[in-house]
């Protein structure tokens, strides 16, 4: 499935995910949803509650995104990025 950032805006009451980071620029981790291996690994990679995540870049055609957190850069596909709930600090999205 092709997900185009910005076109699939979630209702404002739902927290946004890391997949929206290209639009947000940065976000603070609320939590990682699920308990599959991907969610488990994302937590271990540093997506702990309160961690600030900055958007770096995205590959064309809704490709993977690169984010910066905890002093390093990580490349994720949008599917995995959607597991991380984030909020924009200092305001609702």
């Amino acid at each position: 499935m092709v997900l185009i950032p910005g076109l699939n805006k979630l209702p404002s009451s739902t927290p946004t995910t890391l997949a929206d980071l290209p639009r947000l620029g940065m976000g603070r981790v609320i939590k990682v949803v699920g308990d599959g291996p991907a969610s488990e690994r994302l937590r271990e990679l540093g997506f702990a509650q309160g961690t600030e995540v900055h958007f770096c870049r995205q590959a064309p055609f809704a490709g993977p995104i690169v984010v910066a957190l905890r002093g390093y850069q990580l490349c994720l596909r949008l599917g995995e990025a959607r597991l991380v709930l984030v909020e924009k600090p200092g305001g609702t999205v």
Partner: protein
């Protein structure tokens, strides 16, 4: 003696400089094996200081002790001491990049919670300083309780001190102030600890940001990536090519010399044509493997490989693979053997297997002589557009057919046989770094050694068997024959010819006669041998320049039947068969080595043969 040495397990996340440190500590005193039943390299080396030493076991890199892949499970089980036939380590050496402690400290905490004597080596301390960071290592040691050593692996700084300490893990102090093992608590602990020991936080690498803004630019990045793979591909062809030709001709000259100067005996022939040419068939791959891995390790250590995977991931994602599979498929265009060996960098076993399963479809350089011969003999050089001829287009078509088929079958396998939960995709983009030359050289040497000792044996044995089939039994020329039998006579009465005739029912629907079947049997040792085997079957003189003699023979109609030995339709059929069939003993040996059993190489022989047969049959019918 090695049994009395303490065993130290080396653990760290990918990109932490673990391999460089292992190479700096052990040098060439390391051996590579395989963990039983799985396809993960087991690397062990000796750290030597004067007469004392320690065994250093390099565990697969991992970001977490909650293993989600085969290699991570090995690392974790070894640390816990729960792996069968692998005693619990006497000490643990953790490698962590000093610039990314914020991420790696939580895993360090988890390792410390195992309660084994542990030493922490911080790498990249020079880079930390260069990026404005300052870390109180003495305080960190005090807070953690365990010894902490700062090193620069690629410059050898701190290595001697570290080596000294590894000799006796019993004197390492115990860890203290450890957090709870749940992940949130560990990250909170790491943040608090880091606050205490950081004098100046490390800044983002400005160089990396500037390079990335070009190399990962949405448009420019793609163009540079294309230039990169073109250069990569070209380097393998133009640099490894001459070395391979030299190696092949050297072994060929040696064989000829032995034949000319040795006694005319069965053993002389076996040594020259079987052993020497067999060894040649193995050695010929060495320049290519060495060069390919030197390039791969260089780009991996410099940080570009992860970027290349980022650029190409969207494209590979459509097929169901990921960015890192691309390099293996690309390498297979030069030769499937190093391409298959390069699949080790793919973390997901399913993606890795899917890549191996289709890699031989990529048009390797050994197919080129066969394509060139058949195209020049059967395809007219009609100009199509400017300097482009029908012949050139046919060659391009064959190359594309191989690539498209590889992608197509990879997609099929990922949706069928290898369906199911695959590993989550994530990829660290480390800062750009200058790789250590000696570490790369050691890694390349290890790869070559692994190839020679495992795949090489199978190739040598297979070459001997094929030599035997092609040259035995000794021809019976009857009474009155003068002189020794010619190569053609030998071949016509050989076991290979028997096999060729026996295969006629199978291959006549494709338009092949028994002579071509013998060529196919010969090509199994190496695809390019198809031509020399056919030259023998059709008795082309030995000094046939550019195979013009063979070309003439193949296309000249037989005076009795009025048909040439190879018709146009049969030539097309043969070309298509060559695109698909796994006619390469060396590739089979490499697959056996990389998948750990005969199951997958046999499966590949079968399915690729089936695809080749059907495709060649269709092509033959259409071309008739």
């Amino acid at each position: 003696m090695t049994n009395t040495l303490p065993t130290i397990a080396l653990i760290g996340s990918p990109n932490s400089g673990k391999t460089t440190l292992f190479n700096a500590l052990t040098g060439l005193r390391a051996k590579t094996g395989n963990y039983p039943g799985v396809t993960v390299d087991r690397r062990e080396g000796i750290v030597q200081v004067a007469s004392k030493g320690a065994r250093l076991l390099d565990l697969p890199g991992t970001y977490s002790l909650h293993a989600i892949s085969e290699d991570e499970a090995i690392a974790v089980e070894t640390l816990r001491g729960t792996r069968p036939h692998e005693p619990a380590p006497d000490g643990v050496l953790i490698v962590a990049d000093a610039t990314t402690l914020e991420r790696s400290l939580p895993m360090i905490a988890e390792i410390l919670l195992l309660g084994r004597p542990t030493l922490l080596a911080l790498t990249m301390v020079d880079e930390l300083k260069a990026r404005g960071g300052d870390l109180d290592i003495f305080r960190l040691q005090g807070e953690l309780g365990i010894p902490v050593v700062g090193v620069v692996g690629n410059k050898g700084l701190g290595i001697d001190d570290l080596r000294e300490r590894l000799l006796d893990p019993t004197v390492w102090a115990k860890a203290k102030n450890l957090p709870q093992s749940d992940v949130q608590a560990r990250f909170a602990w790491a943040d608090a600890l880091l606050k205490k020991v950081t004098r100046h936080p490390v800044q983002e690498s400005g160089l990396t940001r500037r390079i990335d803004s070009i190399l990962l630019h949405p448009v420019l990045g793609g163009v540079i990536f294309l230039a990169f793979i073109t250069a990569f591909f070209q380097a393998i062809f133009t640099w490894a090519g001459p070395a391979m030709d030299w190696m092949a001709s050297f072994m060929d000259q040696s064989a000829r010399w032995v034949l000319a100067n040795g006694p005319d005996h069965f053993l002389t022939h076996m040594f020259a044509d079987g052993v020497l040419r067999g060894v040649g068939a193995v050695l010929v791959f060495v320049p290519q493997i060495a060069l390919l891995f030197a390039l791969i390790f260089f780009f991996e250590a410099s940080g570009y490989m992860a970027r290349a995977a980022f650029v190409v991931d969207r494209l590979m994602g459509w097929v169901g693979l990921e960015g890192r599979c691309f390099i293996s498929l690309l390498s297979s265009y030069a030769c499937a053997v190093p391409g298959i060996m390069a699949t080790r960098s793919i973390p997901s076993p399913k993606d890795r297997l899917a890549t191996i399963l289709v890699a031989p479809f990529a048009t390797c350089s050994a197919r080129l002589p066969v394509y060139a011969l058949l195209i020049s003999a059967f395809i007219p050089s009609t100009p199509v557009f400017g300097p482009i001829t029908m012949q050139g287009l046919t060659l391009l078509g064959l190359y594309l057919l191989g690539g498209i088929s590889a992608i197509f079958f990879a997609a099929i396998f990922k949706r069928g046989l290898l369906r199911g939960a695959s590993l989550p995709f994530y990829l660290e983009l480390p800062p750009y770094r200058l790789p250590s030359f000696s570490s790369i050289a050691i890694q390349v040497w290890r790869r070559v050694k692994v190839f020679l000792s495992s795949a090489g044996k199978i190739i040598l044995a297979g070459s001997l068997v094929l030599w035997f089939l092609l040259n035995h039994p000794a021809p019976d020329l009857g009474v009155g024959a003068d002189g020794p039998p010619s190569r053609q006579e030998t071949l016509e009465q050989s076991y290979a010819a028997d096999i060729g005739r026996a295969l006629e029912p199978l291959f006549s629907p494709l338009g092949f006669d028994w002579r071509m079947n013998v060529g196919l049997v010969g090509s199994f040792a190496a695809r390019e041998l198809m031509i020399s085997t056919m030259a023998q079957v059709y008795a082309v003189p030995d000094d046939d320049e550019n195979f013009s003699g063979l070309r003439t023979i193949l296309t000249t109609p037989d005076p009795i039947t009025g048909k040439p030995p190879l018709t146009f339709a049969a030539a097309i059929s043969l070309l298509i068969f060559f695109v698909y069939a796994l006619l390469c003993l060396s590739t089979v040996a490499a697959i056996k080595r990389e998948t750990g059993s005969w199951r997958w190489p046999l499966f590949m022989l079968a399915y690729m043969f089936a695809v080749a047969w059907v495709a060649a049959f269709v092509a033959y019918r259409l071309a008739l």
